[in-house]
């Protein structure tokens, strides 16, 4: 039997879009998304990361990376448990599409929210005449970073649970260390060698470096490496998400 065909591939793409556009429509201005997706990153930025002597361009690069990280990775752990509780998630699970398509649809949702929040920062930056080295790279970079972190968020959203609180906690617990070991608060070039080695674990490091390339034209890691790592990370993050979905199916959520 032919399992895959061109028509099927086309169907799956359309379904990714169907899933994503519905979620964007339903969740874009809901309290949990505003709280975790919009307020938290700005709060973090203004309370921790503005340093004296930091130029406006460096600030913008940092804000974009931080925004995107928190907004994109919040969508999954907010939306999936809500849908599991309302049992509407079952509708997506029984629909004739692969689990990967469903997860890519959900990734797209997180990415969409992150890109729109980043757009606010970016427009603000442009209005304040913050110098930006490569605007095109900023936009592409924000999209790529958003996709990667949205997929990252899905890992938490996939835990067999239907409580947003029960998922937000561990997801925050894991996101904070990634934040601190990354090159976001301390620039890579100022880190001790071992701290720097550690920072390469965090996807945020590559996001920050990519933003530095784009805004400041000054990165530590080669741009290609940033891009490749972030692209690969989408696939890498989907693997545990798929495994956890299977677990839910066994446990009966």
């Amino acid at each position: 039997m032919r399992r895959w065909s061109k028509a099927r591939l086309w169907d799956e793409l359309a379904q990714i879009w169907t899933v994503a556009s519905k979620d964007v429509r339903v969740y874009y201005l809901t309290p949990p998304m505003i709280m975790f997706g919009l307020l938290m990153p700005f709060f973090l930025f203004f309370s921790f990361s503005i340093r004296r002597g930091m130029g406006p361009a460096a600030g913008l690069a940092r804000l974009l990376a931080l925004n995107t990280f928190f907004t994109a990775s919040s969508a999954g752990p907010v939306i999936i448990p809500l849908e599991r509780r309302a049992r509407t998630y079952d509708r997506l699970l029984v629909a004739p599409m692969s689990l990967v398509s469903l997860l890519l649809g959900k990734t797209l949702v997180g990415a969409f929210f992150a890109v729109s929040v980043a757009l606010v920062s970016l427009v603000g930056g442009l209005l304040l005449h913050v110098p930006i080295a490569h605007l095109g790279w900023v936009i592409l970079g924000v999209m790529l970073v958003s996709g990667s972190f949205a997929a990252f968020g899905l890992i938490f959203g996939s835990f067999p649970s239907s409580s947003v609180g029960g998922i937000m906690m561990p997801s925050t617990l894991l996101r904070w260390p990634l934040l601190f070991i990354s090159g976001i608060f301390i620039p890579l070039e100022e880190m001790s060698p071992w701290a720097r080695a550690l920072s390469y674990i965090s996807p945020l490091t590559y996001a920050q470096d990519l933003m530095n390339h784009a805004v400041l034209d000054r990165g530590v890691i080669p741009l290609v490496v940033d891009v490749v790592v972030l692209l690969l990370s989408v696939g890498l993050f989907l693997i545990p998400a798929i495994k956890l979905h299977h677990r839910s199916k066994v446990l009966g959520y």
Binding site: M1, R3, D11, A14, Q15, T18, V19, K22, R25, V26, A86, R87, T88, D90, R91, L92, L93, V94, A95, P96, M97, S98, H246, K249, V250, L251, G252
Partner: protein, 336 residues
């Protein structure tokens, strides 16, 4: 021609959620076939394993053991094709409350890749058929329970599935919604859709189904046409009476009344099993008058599923007290 549904040795063990609680054997090596074009009833009391089975058949739950073939496609490796052939109505109406009735239907149509023109035609047709047309642009949040259920059924059939799975579609609904849903099931079946219906209502199963499987504690006790199961249903109807003073001593005399198969003590009451409760009622009243006893309460009870199950498996009827008080087959007659 292959069957619509084939199930072989289907088993589900839920691992304990919390430490210390034992695993639950919810479905225990169940096998059955549903023919194409049939309305197949899955009848059992609460906790029998109906929803668990429904969720395994519809790919939502991974079986611990066993094989499921839907319309020729084995769920273990061809779930995608099976999913395209099925529609499902879960126990709880899972509609998107933030979307209107119309948007809910269109979204589902898109998920099933129904072409645009067709899905809009079909959405309009279904909204009208289900009495939701006037409220089509109202958010589903403001729909009543019955409207939600009707919408969730409409969403299940927008892509004209070959097999429709319904998990207890009618309990707790108003009479109008119940009637609408039952007539829709008949109509879809007449148009060729195979129906798999779980229910805990004996009447619903006998009215709608071509064949009924009776499930209890995860096992199937019998599969047969409802007319043939009727004998078992009838044997376990009963009249329940409480007499005062000194109600306990009447047991043997009550059991000797004509038409009583068996008398079982239930608290302060006697339950008299009979094939014909309405004929027995006046005899009980007459007996009480003769004895100068006061009737504290007198009810007729439809067949309880627990009893049906016991009767079929040849166990002692009345040895298990029916657990579900909301059983709709339980009718109150005089209550003094």
């Amino acid at each position: 021609m292959h069957n619509a549904i084939e199930v072989e040795g289907l088993t589900k063990v839920y691992k304990s959620g919390r430490k210390g609680s034992p695993p639950v054997l919810a479905v225990d090596h169940v096998s059955f076939q549903v023919r194409k074009g049939e309305i197949f009833g899955f009848l059992g009391p609460n906790g029998a394993g109906k929803t668990t089975t429904h969720r395994m058949l519809t790919t939502l739950l991974e079986p611990t053991e066993g094989r499921i073939v839907i319309d020729g496609y084995d769920l273990a490796h061809d779930a995608y094709f099976a999913k395209r052939r099925m529609g499902l109505v879960p126990e709880e109406s899972n509609i998107y409350v933030d979307l209107s009735g119309w948007e809910n239907l269109i979204f589902t149509g898109r998920l099933y890749r129904v072409p645009k023109g067709e899905r809009e035609r079909r959405a309009a047709e279904l909204l009208k058929a289900f009495g939701l047309w006037e409220k089509r642009h109202v958010k589903a949040e403001y729909y009543s329970k019955g409207m939600r259920r009707r919408l969730s059924i409409a969403m299940a059939i927008i892509h004209r599935p070959a097999i429709l799975f319904l998990d207890e579609p009618t309990p707790g609904l108003d009479a109008q919604s119940t009637r609408m849903i039952r007539s829709l099931i008949r109509q879809m079946n007449a148009e060729g859709t195979t129906i798999f219906l779980t229910t805990h209502q004996i009447e619903e199963a006998s009215q709608l189904c071509d064949r009924v499987a009776i499930i209890h504690h995860g096992q199937i006790a019998a599969i047969d046409a409802p007319e043939r199961l009727k004998r078992d249903f009838q044997r376990v109807q009963s009249v329940e009476v409480a007499l005062s003073p000194d109600g306990q001593r009447h047991g043997q005399a009550l059991e000797r009344l004509p038409g009583v198969n068996k008398a079982v003590k239930m608290g302060d009451k006697w339950r008299l099993y009979t094939d014909d409760p309405s004929a027995l009622l006046p005899r009980v009243v007459h007996y009480a008058e003769e004895q100068g006893a006061r009737i504290v309460s007198l009810n007729t009870l439809g067949p309880s599923l627990e009893d049906v199950f016991l009767a079929i498996t040849g166990q002692e009827v009345g040895s298990v007290v029916p657990g579900n008080e909301d059983s709709p087959s339980r009718k109150r007659r005089g209550n003094r």
